[in-house]
Amino acid sequence: MNGPIIRISRRFDAPAERVFDAWLDTDMIGRFLFGPHLRDEQIVSLTNEPRVGGRFSYKVTRQSAEIDHTGTYREIDRPRRLVFTWGVDEEQGDASVVTIEITPHGDACELVLTHAMHSDWAEYAERTQQGWTKIVGDLAKAL
């Protein structure tokens, strides 16, 4: 692993296609990725070009500061796999990578979200068997 990685799996009582489409549909994005129901923020605009190489821009205001979440779609394989870069504001635009993997189970599905944070760290990093989160967490606990 090249940097801290967050991995979360979740089962949804909805077909894989519906769960997949939610990640590309700006109406749905305004209901789960961003918005006042999630945290103290207001949505300014949500725009995306859902094709490989297409960009997205999700603008919100938090405490009157405007924050633009931007990225590029790297893989779009409905309904199983979606990969996009993820960053805040332009200069960090492509700093981290989010991978959504969905396994259909009849009318339900299993989603695994992986957020490989800050790929800039990759060039410094050596390969390690341990997860980054674990390394940092263990050190913080031990010290």
Partner: protein, 107 residues
């Protein structure tokens, strides 16, 4: 979202020698020569690793006469752990919200 300080912390932790140095310093203050002893590398190479750790504020240096003593500053580690935890919570909240949004659409 991501500060330069956090960058320095992650860079510092990305090397096994530097992690071993931090583990050693967790046991208490040490001289540079003591830190270098377990490693099959030149003192100069160890000093370079220590400078990376100092830049990340993970290691503090105290001079007593001609001797340099190094000690650990765990604060940046806690900040990094907190930041990762914050990101994890945020994605969890988003998946909760997705679950609700999908259920509402069903109605």
């Amino acid at each position: 979202m991501l500060s330069a300080a956090l960058d320095d912390t992650m860079l510092a932790l990305s090397d096994s020698t530097r992690r071993a140095i931090l583990q050693r310093l967790a046991a208490g203050e040490a001289r540079v020569t003591e830190l270098a002893a377990p490693f099959a590398m030149a003192l100069n190479a160890v000093s370079k690793h220590i400078r990376v750790l100092e830049r990340a504020a993970l290691v503090k240096r105290r001079k007593a006469g001609r001797e340099h003593f190094l000690s650990l500053n765990p604060a940046p580690l806690n900040q990094a752990a907190d930041w990762i935890e914050h990101q994890r919570n945020l994605w969890n909240d988003r998946l909760d919200a997705l679950e609700r949004a999908l259920a509402e659409h069903d109605d």
